[in-house]
């Protein structure tokens, strides 16, 4: 069985917060897609972003880099990029790299939302 190595990004705006739902495979080849999505939001001044990892199966180093590229701009703009609902395997990758010290990684989307409103 061939594995699905594509990434689909679903964008759902929710008042002042934009939610991105990732599905599939985030690696060097699909990273530019996410880069465009995040870039467009940050450029438009929409800095409150929740990225939902519920359906993301794999993330590579290049995929992680995308979040590094925009977190600074989003925070300077008064917002944040919060990550939510990671599968354990995906979380391990973030954890190894020390991302929990740099990003808000929430168990559920509701938690992430709560952190924005708090």
């Amino acid at each position: 069985m061939a594995i699905n190595t594509k990434l689909t990004i679903e964008h759902r705006p929710d008042n002042s917060i934009d939610k991105l739902y990732l599905q599939g495979y985030l690696d060097m080849h699909t990273a530019p897609q996410l880069e465009t999505s995040l870039g467009n939001l940050v450029k438009a001044g929409r800095n409150n972003i929740i990225v939902n990892f519920r359906d993301l199966d794999y993330i590579s180093s290049a995929g992680l880099g995308v979040f590094m590229a925009f977190i600074e701009d989003a925070r300077i703009g008064g917002g944040d990029i919060k990550l939510a609902e990671m599968k354990p395997k995906v979380f391990t990758v973030f954890d190894l790299l020390g991302f929990p010290m740099l990003f808000d990684i929430a168990e559920s989307e509701a938690d992430a939302l709560a952190k924005f409103t708090a």
Binding site: M1, A2, S61, A62, A69, L102
Partner: protein, 716 residues
């Protein structure tokens, strides 16, 4: 055939003798039949020789060096000669008549006879010329069999009838004979002049030339006939030489008929001459373009040829190509217009929208009447009043626009649009070819450079592993692509300890390789100054943070080996954990630490941990990159830590090389037929122990910079 020099001599001699005889006669000679026969013969001989010389000269002088043979040009030359000859005959005939008239008081009979003889010679001369004209044009552009048949019919028939006429003089009335002879030659002649399709295909300039020459020749030939009739020469000719009148009239009629037919054909072809010219230039352009396509590998040269040919094909004043490169517009190969003027046209933003970005070939007949481009025409741009824009494609991708302009409104026909569209299709193929060639050359170059890059990167990895007493150290590394972002190094620190660094730059390929080289530089520079594993990683982060792109980071694992007492200290910057075998069990060592380049030195230093572990003989450690543990098979399953732990724990793993060999084999086995998607790097060491170390091992204490020391025991 007779050589021209002999003919020339014969003509000159005949004329000279004739003059001598005439002078002798006027000086007091007597006019006898013998005298008349001689002078007549000389006149005829001279006329025949000169006529034939003309014919020969004309035949030799019509080879065009470029195209070999040009029929229109051949016919034109023939007609020009005919006009000159017939004019000479008319003038000669009229002069003869005038002289004969004025000298009626003198020994009229004799003089008019002499003059008549000369006029008769002129007529023979004209008849021969006209016959040759007709003969030449019917012999050209023919299949050789048809040509031979025509020759036999004309010459054979003419000769046979002439002989019959001479015989008829001694017999009865020759009316029936004359009638059948005329009919015969006219039928043969008319059969041969119907082939004039070639006139349709010549250029309009040549058509006009043929029309003019044909009409003039026709008029002068008729002029000769009228002159002969008015001076009664035609009647007198038959007394002079039987059959001559017939020959003269038939030749003239045939030649005149041919000229008339030619004139008519040229006249009929004139209205469509423009179309034919256009088609000719189209064919020429396409042929030329095809040739250039085969020869040109240079994209720029090709665009130049395209604009030049497009301009010529439409008879336009200027042409240029606008190449699309992203959102930029690059003006290429302008012909008949300057870059400044093209920029000036683009002042009107609608020009780009309508013309440069048109989806299909587009003809704007009058800019002044265009709803959106009228301002351009009004603002004094007298160089562009009408234009054609032609999108250029490479494959299916739009790569640019060919623009052709004229300074007059309604300067282009719809035919021009059609022509350029046909032209465009070939251009597209040409551009695609040039692009493919360029790409393949580019690929070849990149391949070569990547090979060089790979060699250079291989040199960045340790060529020789430094040794430290009691340790057996080994490494393996192979990138997924020509170059990779994996890094390992074994360096001696300032205090004499040995440091193993293993790392992975995020991403792959060239960018990762560049940062890997930068990392190597930083590590080399810092190695002498650092005090330990944690310090090394902190210093590397401080050096690189802010100097690498935001989305790039480097994971590193640093192990410092010391002897006496044997120990290792280990610090991690976001990298995969180390696998450590101690007393036969394997632990996963994961000290806390952020990836290099992710956080400011302040945050990085606050979070990084360092563990110190005493070593006993038989202890071993495996460091690796995610290319090993995340090596995937065709189903996408990752290798994971378990097989690595099993290999490390195996009693067979007595040396670094043995461990690495098994690791490499396991990764390869797991991968199966799937492609390697990440760089694979691993470093292993086995502590064999020294005598002094054994003595000191009891005294070793565990050192940790953090309050909590956690080695996660996986197996015992």
């Amino acid at each position: 055939m007779i050589s021209p020099s002999i003919l020339r001599l014969a003509a000159v001699l005949a004329l000279v003798f004739r003059v001598i005889l005439d002078v002798a006669f006027f000086a007091g000679g007597s006019y006898t039949d013998v005298y008349r026969a001689i002078t007549s013969f000389l006149s005829l001989a001279a006329a025949t020789a000169i006529g034939y010389l003309f014919y020969r000269h004309e035949c030799e002088g019509n080879i065009d060096e470029q195209s070999g043979y040009n029929h229109a040009d051949y016919i034109s030359r023939r007609l020009t000669t005919t006009i000159y000859l017939t004019l000479i005959v008319i003038i000669g005939g009229v002069l003869a008549e005038v002289i004969a008239d004025e000298n009626r008081g003198l020994p009229t009979n004799i003089l008019s006879t002499i003059i008549f003889d000369d006029a008769a010679a002129l007529i023979v001369f004209a008849s021969l010329s006209l016959f040759f004209l007709y003969y030449c044009v019917t012999q050209r552009r023919r299949h050789h069999k048809t040509r031979a048949l025509t020759r036999i019919l004309l010459i054979g028939g003419g000769t046979a009838f002439s002989l019959l006429f001479i015989l008829a003089l001694f017999g009865e009335s020759s009316f029936a004979l004359e009638f059948s002879a005329q009919a015969y030659l006219l039928i043969v002649g008319l059969l041969n002049i119907r082939r004039l399709q070639w006139v349709d295909a010549v250029t309009s300039r040549e058509k006009r030339r043929l029309l003019w020459l044909g009409a003039t020749s026709c008029a002068t030939i008729i002029g000769v006939l009228i002159m002969a009739h008015a001076t009664d020469l035609d009647i007198k000719l038959n007394f002079f030489l039987p059959g001559l009148d017939f020959f003269f009239k038939t030749s003239s009629t045939l030649a005149a008929a041919y000229c008339a037919r030619l004139t008519l054909a040229a006249l009929m072809a004139l209205p469509t001459a423009g179309v034919v010219d256009r088609r000719n230039s189209e064919v020429d352009s396409l042929a030329y373009l095809n040739r250039i396509v085969a020869e040109t590998v240079d994209f720029e040269k090709l665009t130049e040829v395209v604009t030049e040919k497009a301009r010529l094909a439409c008879n336009a004043s200027a042409a240029w190509i606008e190449m699309h490169s992203g959102h930029e517009r690059i003006v290429t190969a302008p012909q008949g217009i300057s870059y400044e003027l093209i920029e000036w046209v683009h002042i009107n933003p609608d020009f780009a929208a309508i013309v440069s970005n048109c989806d299909a070939p587009c003809l704007i007949e009058s800019l002044g009447e265009h709803p959106r481009l009228a301002t351009l025409a009004k603002s004094g741009s007298d160089f562009v009043r009408s234009l054609i824009a032609m999108p250029l494609l490479s494959g299916t991708t739009r790569i640019g626009t060919l623009i052709v302009v004229k300074p007059d409104s309604y300067g282009f026909e719809h035919d021009d649009l059609r022509l350029l569209t046909a032209f465009r299709d070939n251009v597209s193929i040409a551009l695609e070819n040039a692009r493919l060639l360029h790409d393949s050359m580019q690929n070849e170059r990149i391949k070569r450079e990547m090979t060089v890059a790979r060699t250079i990167q291989q040199r960045l990895l340790p060529q020789q592993i430094p040794t430290i007493d009691g340790f057996d150290i080994g490494a393996l590394s192979y990138p997924a692509y020509e170059v990779g972002g994996d890094y390992y190094d074994i360096l001696r620190l300032g205090d004499g300890s040995l440091c193993i660094l293993i790392g992975d730059v995020s991403g792959k390929g060239i960018p990762a390789a560049f940062y890997m080289a930068q990392l190597k530089g930083a590590a080399l520079a810092l190695a002498r100054e650092v005090s330990g594993a944690r310090d090394f990683l902190s210093r590397i982060n401080a050096t690189l943070f802010g100097n690498i792109e935001k989305q790039i980071y480097i994971t590193l694992l640093c192990v410092v080996l010391r002897e006496n007492p044997a120990s290792m200290t280990i610090a991690r910057a976001g990298h995969m954990p180390a696998l450590f075998k101690q007393h036969g069990g394997v632990s996963v060592i994961t000290p806390k630490g952020l990836g290099v380049g992710l956080a400011s030195p302040k945050l990085f230093d606050r979070t990084i941990e360092e563990f110190a572990v005493p070593l006993a003989p038989g202890d071993a450690c495996l460091l690796f990159t995610d290319g090993v543990s995340e090596s995937r098979n065709q189903n996408g399953d990752e290798l994971g830590y378990e097989p690595l732990i099993d290999i490390l724990r195996s009693p067979a793993s007595q040396s670094a090389d043995a461990i690495l060999k098994e690791i490499g084999a396991a990764a390869e086995r797991h991968k199966g037929t799937a492609a390697q998607h990440d760089d694979v790097t691993a470093v292993a060491f086995v502590y064999r122990g020294t005598k002094s170390a054994e003595q000191n091992s009891e005294k070793l204490s565990i050192v940790s910079t953090t309050t909590e020391f956690s080695i996660q025991q996986i197996c015992n």
